[in-house]
């Protein structure tokens, strides 16, 4: 197979081209000046960043936090009766699960059964079946809800930092990973992550909006330090080249928010309200103007003019709306709400996302049902009765998640919220509402914060170590193997290019151990060529012709290379599988390096040898 030189040449060029294609965005992103990045359209920059190799937190600086929800506390809280033997069983199960590194619920079930505790007695309304197993699984689903709620709370808060791409995910059954890149105030982040959530229901005061906006405009126009911005530079709008998208996800819509910036003409008259427009769901601001408006709103003179009874709050996230077949805009809604909340989180009980039962008006749609404490129900009934057809904002940590209309007076606290597009939306809201019930307490159990300066130092020294190692290895190979060493060096360079392309291709994150893996790869990747060259030398010693020696050398050496590399790969795969974060980065670069070396050191160098011996038989080999 692959005897034909043309076929070999074609395969190699294809690989090189594909590698260059994958590396280009990384090169582009990291060589671009901040100035140019600022000029670039929001969505294009995001796309470019997505295609470039990410730097790990240890290289760009940032914070990694592992949080754990205290499940035993949750289980204790959920019990309706709390006799000593139940509390003791919970405590023992907790201790056992720590000692034996097992799941708390497994231990809890075993201990309850052993001690003949009938759990249904203490968790009366959780489960319809009466055996311990079903109570445990009901408790487990309470745990899952608590974690989802904690996730929602943290996601919402992290927004505060303006971190470009925070990573927040569930880990195992009761843990949450939070990764914040480029954070410079770790103390603030820690506090924010661990703060107790605040949930409230408050009235949206649409009738006060216009007058408030007018007075803000007036304040800004008379302020000495305020300059009406000039027209934003027009952004070139290029339709996406179809060819360009062959390798990427099919996404034929484009964010054109940048094209719709508010003209200076309007801002001259309405420096604040000019940015606000009527958008689906209410009044909002385009994504690319969001920061400007937020800063204006935070000005002291602006804050002092806002009526005391209310405040502006942002929606929890950006919305998208298509404006035609291929374009969409991104925006964020803003509300003017009453300062004194009607209902606080502690009054909300038992929120559930469910499909509305058959026979009702909303039959088949997703809704969220909730109940209230007696005190909450009383207040809620009065409030809803007085504000029919107005909006009530569901506010978590100062962000509005939803602002449904009040359809009528709600006596008794049983409330239904409708208007969800799908199950996920409804579940998100029920998670937000659960935040008020104070779910399981969440604690930081692992934290790694790297300062940006240490990160850039690591990049610098890593790059230096790599360069020095690389140059010495290249020089040594030429010194020891002469012309053939040059071939090995070409293979080595190609190997590094391919590894970087693979990292970019699989969206891997480059960590400091990852750089170490690359450096190690330089040393180990030449091994395949060393094995081949030594073998060719032996064959030449036996008096074979150059061509025969090369053929025999490659043939025998390949099996050795394969066997030897597979064992290193086994160790690297186990590391990639069990290891976390930085270690994974090391394992991935090392595996990629080894796999690529089999292609570059065997296939590529062989092809060059074949090219050399194709037309005229070689008398002498430089080896």
């Amino acid at each position: 197979m692959f005897k034909d030189l043309k076929v070999r040449g074609f395969i190699i060029s294809l690989v090189v081209l594909a590698a260059a294609y994958k590396i280009y965005p990384t090169y582009q992103y990291y060589t671009m000046s901040d100035e140019n990045k600022a000029k670039m359209a929001h969505s294009d920059l995001k796309k470019l960043r997505g295609e470039a190799i990410n730097l790990g937190l240890d290289l760009q600086g940032g914070m990694y936090v592992l949080l754990e929800a205290e499940i035993p506390t949750l289980v204790r809280k959920l019990a309706t009766k709390k006799p000593d033997d139940l509390l003791k069983t919970i405590k023992d199960a907790e201790q056992r699960s720590i000692d034996l590194q097992t799941d708390f619920f497994d231990e809890f079930e075993i201990l309850s059964n052993n001690r003949e505790l009938r759990l249904i007695r203490y968790y009366t309304n959780l489960s319809s079946s009466r055996d311990n197993g079903s109570v445990i699984s009901a408790l487990k689903s309470q745990r899952d809800d608590a974690i989802s709620s904690a996730l929602e709370i943290i996601r919402n808060r992290v927004d505060e930092f303006g971190v470009s791409e925070p990573n927040i995910q569930k880990y195992g059954s009761n843990r949450i990973i939070v990764e914040l890149a480029g954070i410079d105030d770790a103390d603030r982040a820690r506090k924010l992550i661990q703060r107790t959530a605040s949930l409230e229901f408050t009235l949206v005061m649409n009738e006060k909006l216009q007058s408030t906006l007018d007075s803000i405009d007036k304040v800004l126009l008379t302020a000495d330090d305020f300059v009406v911005p000039a027209d934003a530079e027009p952004v070139d709008y290029e339709p996406i080249d179809e060819f360009d998208d062959i390798f990427s996800e099919v996404d034929n819509t484009t964010d054109v928010s940048d094209l719709l910036t508010t003209p200076a003409e309007i801002l001259k008259k309405n420096p604040f309200s000019g940015y606000l427009r009527s958008l689906p769901g209410g009044v909002g601001v385009l994504s690319n103007e969001f920061k400007k408006v937020k800063l204006l709103l935070e000005r002291e003179d602006v804050q002092s003019i806002i009526p005391r009874e209310g405040r502006f709050l942002w929606a929890s996230r950006f919305e998208k709306v298509s404006i035609d077949e291929s374009n969409f805009i991104e925006y964020r809604l803003i509300y003017f709400v009453r300062n004194n909340p009607e209902i606080s989180g502690g009054m909300v009980k038992n929120p559930q996302a469910t499909i509305a039962s058959a026979g009702t008006e909303l039959s088949g749609q997703w809704v969220v049902n909730l109940e209230m404490t007696p005190e909450g129900a009383r207040k809620w009934s009065r409030f809803t009765g007085a504000n029919i057809d107005k909006q009530v904002a569901i506010v978590l940590d100062e962000k509005i998640f939803m602002a449904p209309f009040i359809r009528g007076k709600i006596p008794g606290g049983r409330t239904q919220i409708s208007g969800f597009a799908d199950a996920n939306e409804a579940k998100d809201i029920s998670n937000v509402l659960r935040a008020g019930e104070l779910p399981a307490p969440v604690y930081i159990i692992e934290e790694r914060t790297i300062g940006a300066s240490l990160g850039s130092d690591s990049i610098k020294s890593g790059r230096q170590a790599m360069l020095i190692g690389f140059v010495i290895v290249l020089a040594f190979m030429i010194f020891y193997y002469r012309g053939s060493g040059l071939l090995a060096n070409i293979a080595l360079i190609l190997n590094l290019v391919m590894v970087i392309a693979i990292l970019a291709g699989i969206n891997a994150t480059l960590t400091l151990p990852g750089i170490a893996g690359l450096i190690l790869t330089i040393g180990m990747a030449v091994d395949a060529n060393v094995i081949i060259f030594e073998r060719i030398r032996e064959e030449l010693d036996l008096g074979k012709t150059v061509k025969a020696a090369i053929d025999a050398g490659y043939k025998r050496a390949f099996i050795t290379i394969l066997d030897a590399n597979i064992t290193t790969l086994i160790a690297a795969f186990v590391l990639a599988w069990i290891g976390s974060g930085p270690i994974k980065g090391f394992a991935i670069t090392l595996s990629a390096g080894i796999i690529c070396s089999m292609f570059t050191a065997v296939f590529v160098t062989r092809t060059i040898f074949m090219m050399m011996t194709a037309n005229k038989p070689l008398e002498k080999l430089s080896i």
């Binding site: 240890d58 592992l66 754990e68 720590i98 590194q101 770790a186 103390d187 820690r190 506090k191 604690y443 930081i444 159990i445 934290e447 790694r448 914060t449 790297i450 300062g451 300066s453 240490l454 130092d457 690591s458 610098k460 020294s461 230096q464 170590a465 190692g469 290895v473 040594f476 020891y480 193997y481 002469r482 400091l512 151990p513 750089i515 170490a516 450096i519 190690l520 330089i522 040393g523 180990m524 030449v526 091994d527 060393v530 030594e534 030398r537 099996i559 066997d563 030897a564 590399n565 064992t567 290193t568 790969l569 086994i570 160790a571 690297a572 590391l575 069990i578 290891g579 270690i583 090391f586």
Partner: protein, 293 residues
């Protein structure tokens, strides 16, 4: 250029000396481990907090110690880290580190920058410990299986004994030099395992080939021929690998230094063991079984 042309070294004959050398190294490391009551484990495994601070000028560690001792950092370890401007404070795990930076700032009067804070709860430490252990055991097991499949069990015994030998010696060296074992060191151990095996297999492969070619020769001679003919490759690859890990050790920065050091020890020990440990052990088992027959 060729350094090891047609060498004819009697490696097998010298394996008795090697046996003593290896035993001595392992026992020395073991003694040090026993005296300390186990390896120095980092906060990754024991739980705890480290903070790396950078000052504008060199700091006197002893001064800092007295400053911090009076403010709740009595049991902390304080050492310089890399440059004299940087120090590392190792203290207990305290949950959130919200107060840590504040307390440090109020205790230490001079300006500093917090370069790094790492904090691991005791529960996570335990988990990371068992993860690391299972990673090492699992890869050893898989490698054993692969070698038994590709060669035969005698080769597998030889290579695994060599691997355990390498990791034990590296562990001992770390203990003797008081270097802490953290997560990255475990990754280095596994890399050593992979690397040392790579070396061993090249030799084994040649032995297997020569068993057919020189079927009439005794095993000792075959092994010697094989070791000699692969010697050039063994040395060259070890050299190139050593060059890059040395470069990593010298220029790669303080954070990765111990990792690079583990690799340096591993490459040297791994090269040695593929010549002097793996093959003799393989021969030992092979001869034992042949003798029984």
């Amino acid at each position: 250029m060729r350094l090891f042309n047609h060498t004819n070294i009697d490696f097998v004959g010298k394996s008795e000396i090697a046996k003593f050398l290896s035993m001595a190294l392992i026992i020395a490391g073991f003694a040090s481990l026993v005296m300390k009551g186990g390896p120095d484990l980092s906060i990754d495994f024991t739980g705890g907090t480290i903070a790396q601070l950078q000052f504008e000028k060199a700091v006197e560690v002893s001064e800092l110690r007295t400053l911090l001792a009076s403010t709740g950092f009595e049991s902390s370890e304080i050492i310089t880290f890399g440059s004299p401007n940087e120090i590392l404070i190792k203290t207990q795990f305290s949950g959130a580190n919200t107060e840590l930076e504040f307390n440090l700032r109020s205790a230490i009067k001079s300006e500093f920058q917090v370069r790094r804070v790492e904090s691991v709860g005791p529960k996570i430490g335990k988990e990371l410990q068992s993860d690391a252990l299972s990673a090492i055991l699992l890869s050893l097991l898989l490698i054993l299986m692969y070698i038994s499949f590709r060669f035969d069990r005698f080769y597998a015994y030889g290579s695994v004994v060599a691997l355990i030998h390498d990791v034990l010696i590296t562990l001992g060296v770390f203990s003797l030099l008081n270097i802490e074992i953290d997560l990255t060191i475990v990754a280095a151990f596994l890399t050593i395992v992979g690397y040392s095996l790579n070396d061993t297999i090249v030799v084994f492969d040649r032995i297997r080939e020569n068993m057919v070619k020189h079927a009439r020769e005794p095993l000792d001679t075959i092994v010697n021929i094989s070791l000699n003919s692969t010697l050039g490759r063994t040395i060259v690859t070890s050299l190139t690998t050593l060059v890059v890990v040395l470069s990593l050790f010298l220029f790669g920065g303080e954070v990765i230094k111990n990792f690079a050091f583990a690799l340096i020890v591993g490459v040297i020990v791994g090269t040695y063991s593929s010549i002097y440990v793996a093959s003799p052990v393989m021969m030992y088992f092979e001869k034992k079984v042949v003798a029984k027959k």
